[in-house]
């Protein structure tokens, strides 16, 4: 999986992800989010439009990163999930704890 970090504000960052979020990529994904949060960007948006596949390892990583962001006083939002990612979020009920936005801009804009 490829991750491009866009630091969109002093405390916000949008992580544009491409590829698969599974057991192969989840450790590096967690590490990237932890680094971004450590760097002061504790409001994190995970932009998922380029992620064609996510499984329970990816879900676990999202939940872990949500905790990381909240422990730093921030939050984590997801944007533009593909059909496959939406299916997995819905089946797992994680859509109840992770807010989803239509795109990265909408996720950041609404952050008051």
């Amino acid at each position: 999986m490829d991750i491009v970090v866009h630091e969109t504000g002093t405390d916000t960052a949008v992580l544009e992800c491409t590829g698969r979020l599974n057991m192969v990529s989840a450790p590096a994904f967690r590490e990237t989010v932890a680094t971004v949060v450590d760097g002061g960007h504790h409001r994190v948006v995970i932009e998922l439009s380029g992620v064609e596949f996510m499984d329970s390892s990816g879900l676990g990583a999202l939940v872990g990163c949500l905790k990381t962001a909240r422990q730093a006083g921030g939050d984590l939002r997801i944007a533009a999930p593909s059909e496959q990612v939406t299916m997995v979020l819905t089946l797992s009920n994680i859509d109840k704890i992770l807010r989803t936005y239509p795109d990265g801009d909408a996720a950041v804009a609404n952050w008051a």
């Binding site: 596949f53 499984d55 329970s56 299916m87 797992s92």
Partner: protein, 133 residues
Amino acid sequence: MAEHRLDFASPPDDVTAVHEFLARVWGTEPSVGPEDRMAFELALVELASNVVEHAGGAARIACSLDLAVRDGGLEARLTDDGRPASVDPSVAELPDASAESGRGLALVGMVVDELRYAREGETNTWTVRRLIR
């Protein structure tokens, strides 16, 4: 109707082998619709992830994945020579929302019509079937 087979060993292979295998299979099976592909890919990658993580541990395991595309549905069998599984797939439930693991088999159960596990001799066998409506 057609049958497809993938043999892999972990390490060095990982679930990427399963993703790439399925991409090839779907390329030759245009009759399988996108929803069935998504569901079955999730099921097979979850099962393969479990095998790589739990059956293997630090040891190398050899796995085979047989996938049959029939008129009425998709059927797959994943075998490995690793340690026996310690879970009962028929009672796999979603953990608490804050859990960071333990959702794999529960998700598999949601996207297939049949999920079975058997230990025979030194071999683990996972079987899944999804009916095509």
